[in-house]
C-alpha cells in the first residue's frame, strides 16, 4: 500500500444515483411526449423545443459565468429539463422571441435568482409559462391543429382546446352570452383521440398515453413517488364527480397529466414528507378544478401548481413525517 489513508465519516458506501442520472431519467421519461409533439406538430414543435432548451442552458451558463461566479451546474442537465418542460407547455407556433423570453425568465428569475437548483421556490418551467401566459395571452392561447400543420411554423390553422370548448359551452348555458357562437370551431374530440393526442393544445400535453408511459418509467426508476400524481389525479376526478361531471375527458386533456406527473413532482418545489405531498397534491387538484370551472382561464394546472409551490415551505413546516415511537403500540 503506498497511498495515504483517506478518513471520512460513515457511511463508506453510497448509492449509485446522482443528480445527473435523475435529471437524465426525467428527460428519458419525457421522450415519448417529445416524440408525440414532434409527430403532431412537426417543424413548429422542433423549433420551439430547440429554442427553449438552448435558451435555458445558455441563460444558466451565462449567469453562472458572469453573475454568480460559482461552480457550474450545467453538467447536471437540470437546465435541459426546464427547457424541455417549458417547451412542452407552449403552443408549437409560438414566435422564437417569446420562447426565448420565457426561457430567460424561467432560469434567470425563477431559478438562478433564488440561488440555483434546489433553492428555487417556484417551478422554473411553470413560472416561465405563466409569465408568458400573462404577457402574451393571445399567442399563448391559440393552438395549432395537430397533423395538418406539420410542415409549417407560422400561419397555420388554429383552434381552441377541448377544455376551452367545454368552458365556453358551459358559459353559454349559464349566461346565455354569445361567446360560444363567436368561436369558429367547436372542438369535438373522443377519449381515444385524447389518449393518443390528436387534438389541439400545448406541444407536450396532448398525448395522454405518452405522458403516462413517462410517468410509469419515473415511478419504476423511483425518481418520483406515487403520492403527488395520484393525489392530484384522484382529487380532480373526485371533484368532477361531486360536481356531477364525467371526469374522464378533463383528466385526459389540458395540462393535467403533464403537470401532475412532471411539474408538480419537481423536487425543489414540492413538500418533503409523504403526508405533505398528499396535501399538496389534493390542493393542486382542487384549485385546478376551481379555476377550470369558475376562473377566467380554461386551464388552471399551472396556476394551481405555482400557488402550491408558494405554500410548500408552510406544508413542510406543519406536515412532518411521523417520528419513530410516536404512536407507541403499548
Amino acid at each position: 500500500m503506498n497511498n495515504e489513508l483517506i478518513i471520512s465519516s460513515s457511511p463508506h458506501i453510497h448509492t449509485s444515483k446522482t443528480v445527473e442520472r435523475t435529471m437524465l431519467d426525467v428527460i428519458i421519461a419525457l421522450l415519448p411526449a417529445i416524440a408525440c409533439s414532434l409527430f403532431f406538430f412537426g417543424v413548429g414543435a422542433l423549433v420551439v423545443l430547440a429554442t427553449a432548451v438552448a435558451g435555458c442552458v445558455a441563460t444558466e451558463f451565462l449567469i453562472q459565468k458572469f453573475l454568480i461566479k460559482g461552480n457550474s451546474t450545467i453538467g447536471n442537465y437540470s437546465a435541459i429539463v426546464t427547457g424541455v418542460l417549458l417547451a412542452l407547455n407552449l403552443p408549437s407556433n409560438l414566435p422564437v422571441y417569446i420562447v426565448l423570453l420565457g426561457s430567460v425568465f424561467a432560469i434567470g428569475i425563477a431559478k438562478m435568482a433564488f440561488g440555483g437548483l434546489g433553492n428555487n421556490i417556484f417551478n422554473p418551467a411553470i413560472a416561465g409559462r405563466v409569465f408568458l401566459l400573462l404577457s402574451f395571452p393571445a399567442q399563448m392561447t391559440t393552438w395549432p391543429l395537430p397533423i395538418v400543420n406539420r410542415w409549417q411554423y407560422f400561419d397555420m390553422e388554429t383552434g381552441a382546446t377541448i377544455l376551452s370548448t367545454m368552458k365556453e359551452g358551459a358559459g353559454d348555458v349559464s349566461t346565455g352570452a354569445s361567446i360560444a357562437s363567436s368561436m369558429k370551431d367547436i372542438v369535438e374530440v373522443s377519449p381515444v383521440e385524447a389518449l393518443l393526442g390528436n387534438m389541439g393544445g400545448s406541444m407536450g400535453e396532448v398525448s395522454a398515453i405518452a405522458l403516462l408511459i413517462g410517468g410509469a418509467y419515473l415511478l419504476l426508476r423511483k425518481v418520483i413517488s406515487w403520492h403527488i400524481p395520484i393525489a392530484i389525479l384522484a382529487s380532480v376526478a373526485l371533484f368532477y364527480l361531486i360536481l356531477g361531471d364525467d371526469p374522464l375527458m378533463p383528466l385526459l386533456t389540458g395540462g393535467l397529466l403533464l403537470g401532475a406527473i412532471f411539474m408538480a413532482t419537481d423536487y425543489a418545489t414540492s413538500p418533503m414528507s409523504h403526508k405533505g405531498m398528499i396535501i399538496y397534491g389534493v390542493m393542486i387538484g382542487i384549485i385546478t378544478v376551481v379555476i377550470r370551472k369558475w376562473g377566467a382561464y380554461p386551464e388552471g394546472v399551472s396556476f394551481a401548481i405555482l400557488l402550491m409551490n408558494g405554500l410548500t415551505p408552510l406544508i413542510n413546516r406543519y406536515f412532518k413525517p411521523s417520528k419513530f415511537g410516536e404512536r407507541s403500540r403499548k
Binding site: L5, H12, T22, M272, F324
Partner: protein
C-alpha cells in the same frame, strides 16, 4: 410476507464476499497490546505489573464502576509494559503490552453441568460480569448492565440480534452456521438471567443456512423462536429490530426494556455460553476481513490485542490500491488512520476499500428530493437537521428530535447530491446532547 420494521430503511448491495469462508484461527502475533478501554464506560483498572508473567484468561484490567468491564489476557506471556497506545483512530488509551510465550498456560474455571443447571439469575449475571462480556454487535455496552433493567420496566422477551444488516460483514452469519448449539445454550442462559419465557432470534432472510442451523439447534428448546426477516438496513438497530420482530415501538429516548424487551447480539450469546459453561472469559471474537480487492476475504477468530496489520496479513495482506481501511461495516464503521492499532472487543469487521471507492464525491446543492426523509428509519428529516446543525440552531435541533438519530447513515447513503448529511447531524447531535445534559445538571 417476511417481517421488517415499518419506517424508512434502505437496501444497499449486500456484498457478503466472505459468506462461504469458514471461521479460522490466525497465527500468533509477536506482541499483543490490550487496551483497557474496550467498552462504553469507565476504562478498566490495570491489575498486573510490568515484567509479570500472566496466564491466558488471567484478569489484567478490573472493571472500574457500574458501567465498565473486566479485561482478560488473550495469551500467556509476560507484561512488557503498561503504557499509552494509539487506537485505530489515533486516540490514546492505556494498554497492556503482552509478549506471548507460546505456552498457553490457562486460567479458567469450567463448571459442571450439575452446577450450571442450578445457577440463579444473579449468579449468571455475576459470571457474565466477571468474564468482561460486552455487546459484540459493535456498541460494546457492558452486557451485565443491559441484563439489569430498571425495576419499573418488567421484561418479558429476550431478542437475539442475528440480523447482520451491514453489507460485507459475515462474522455473525458464520458463527450462527458453525456454532448454532453454543448460541442456543447462550440464549437459554440469558433467558434464565433475565427470567423470561420467550426468546426470538431474528435473522435476515439472506442467511438461509444460518436460519436452518439455528432452527435445528433450537428444535428441542422451549420458548426460543427463529424469526426470518426481510433484508433491509438498518434492521440490526435495536429499535428497528424490536419493531420488526415484536411490532413494538420504543418511545423516543426510551430503553428497549420500557417495552419489555432486552436485545443481545448472537455473538454475545455465544460468549455467554463460553463464559458460563466453559469458564473462559471474553478474550477473542470473530472478525470479518473483507473488501472488493482483497485476495482472501474471510472470517477469523482473533484474540483481542492482535495488531490490525497482522489480521489483514492473514487475509492475504493489503492490496496495492488500498486507500481506506474501515473498522466495522461500510454503513456504520469508522475509517482507521493507524493500522498499528490492535483488535478490541467491538471490532466486527475490517473492510479494505480500494482507491476507486475511497474518496467521496463532491457535494452539490440539496435538490430537496426527499430521499433522505423516506430513508430515515426514525422518521426524522435529515436534510433539515443537517442544515440546522450547520446553522448551529441547537434549540430547533432539539425540537426536530436530533437526539433520536441512530446515526445509521441511510440519509447520507441515499443522497443524490452526495451531501455529508450524517457528518453534520452527528455534530449537531453531540452539541445538542451536551446542552441538554448541562441543562439537566443545572436543574438539579
Amino acid at each position: 410476507m417476511l417481517k421488517t420494521f415499518r419506517k424508512g430503511g434502505i437496501h444497499p448491495p449486500e456484498n457478503k464476499l466472505s459468506a462461504l469462508s469458514k471461521i479460522t484461527d490466525i497465527p500468533q502475533s509477536k506482541e499483543y497490546v490490550v487496551s483497557l478501554s474496550q467498552h462504553i464506560g469507565a476504562p478498566a483498572q490495570c491489575c498486573v505489573e510490568k515484567g509479570e508473567h500472566i496466564a491466558k484468561y488471567q484478569l489484567i484490567g478490573k472493571s472500574a464502576g457500574f458501567v465498565s468491564a473486566n479485561i482478560h489476557s488473550p495469551v500467556s506471556g509476560t507484561v512488557r509494559k503498561i503504557d499509552k497506545f494509539k487506537n485505530a483512530f489515533g486516540f490514546e488509551t492505556t494498554s497492556v503490552f503482552i509478549t506471548p510465550d507460546g505456552q498457553n498456560d490457562e486460567e479458567r474455571h469450567p463448571l459442571t453441568s450439575e452446577v450450571t443447571a442450578k445457577l440463579s439469575s444473579k449468579e449468571i449475571i455475576g459470571i457474565i460480569d466477571n468474564a468482561g462480556i460486552v455487546g459484540l454487535g459493535g456498541a460494546t455496552f457492558p452486557t451485565k448492565v443491559k441484563l439489569m433493567p430498571p425495576d419499573n420496566m418488567p421484561v418479558d422477551t429476550l431478542l437475539i440480534n442475528g440480523a447482520e444488516c451491514e453489507p460485507y460483514l459475515t462474522n455473525d452469519q458464520r458463527l450462527m452456521e458453525e456454532c448454532p448449539e453454543e448460541i442456543i445454550e447462550g440464549v437459554k442462559l440469558l433467558m434464565r438471567a433475565i427470567n423470561v419465557e420467550k426468546a426470538y432470534i431474528a435473522i435476515e432472510s439472506n442467511k438461509p443456512e444460518a436460519i436452518k442451523a439455528l432452527e435445528k439447534a433450537a428444535a428441542h428448546a422451549t420458548g426460543i423462536k427463529i424469526t426470518p426477516l426481510k433484508v433491509k438496513y438498518p434492521q440490526g438497530g435495536e429499535k428497528q429490530l424490536i419493531d420488526a420482530v415484536l411490532n413494538r415501538q420504543v418511545p423516543s429516548g426510551g430503553l428497549p426494556a420500557s417495552v419489555g424487551v432486552i436485545v443481545q447480539n448472537v455473538a454475545t450469546a455465544y460468549a455467554v455460553k463460553q463464559a458460563v459453561i466453559d469458564g473462559t472469559p471474553l478474550t477473542e471474537r470473530v472478525i470479518t476481513v473483507t473488501g472488493p480487492d482483497l485476495p482472501h476475504p474471510g472470517n477469523y477468530r482473533v484474540p483481542i490485542g492482535t495488531p490490525i496489520s497482522d489480521i489483514i496479513e492473514a487475509a492475504g495482506g493489503l492490496p496495492e490500491n488500498t486507500q481506506k481501511v474501515v473498522i466495522g461495516g461500510p454503513m456504520m464503521g469508522k475509517a482507521a488512520s493507524n493500522l498499528n492499532a490492535t483488535a478490541n472487543k467491538g471490532m466486527s469487521g475490517i473492510l479494505i476499500v480500494p482507491k476507486r471507492y475511497a474518496m467521496r464525491q463532491k457535494a452539490e446543492n440539496c435538490v430537496r428530493c426527499a430521499s433522505c426523509v423516506s430513508a430515515c428509519p426514525m422518521g426524522l428529516e435529515p436534510y433539515l437537521i443537517a442544515r440546522l446543525s450547520e446553522l448551529k440552531d441547537y434549540k430547533r435541533l432539539e425540537e426536530e428530535r436530533v437526539m433520536d438519530c441512530i446515526e445509521c447513515g441511510s440519509c447520507s447513503y441515499v443522497c443524490i447530491s452526495h451531501r455529508p448529511l450524517l457528518d453534520y447531524i452527528r455534530i449537531g447531535k453531540n452539541k445538542t446532547g451536551a446542552i441538554i445534559k448541562s441543562r439537566k445538571t443545572n436543574n438539579k
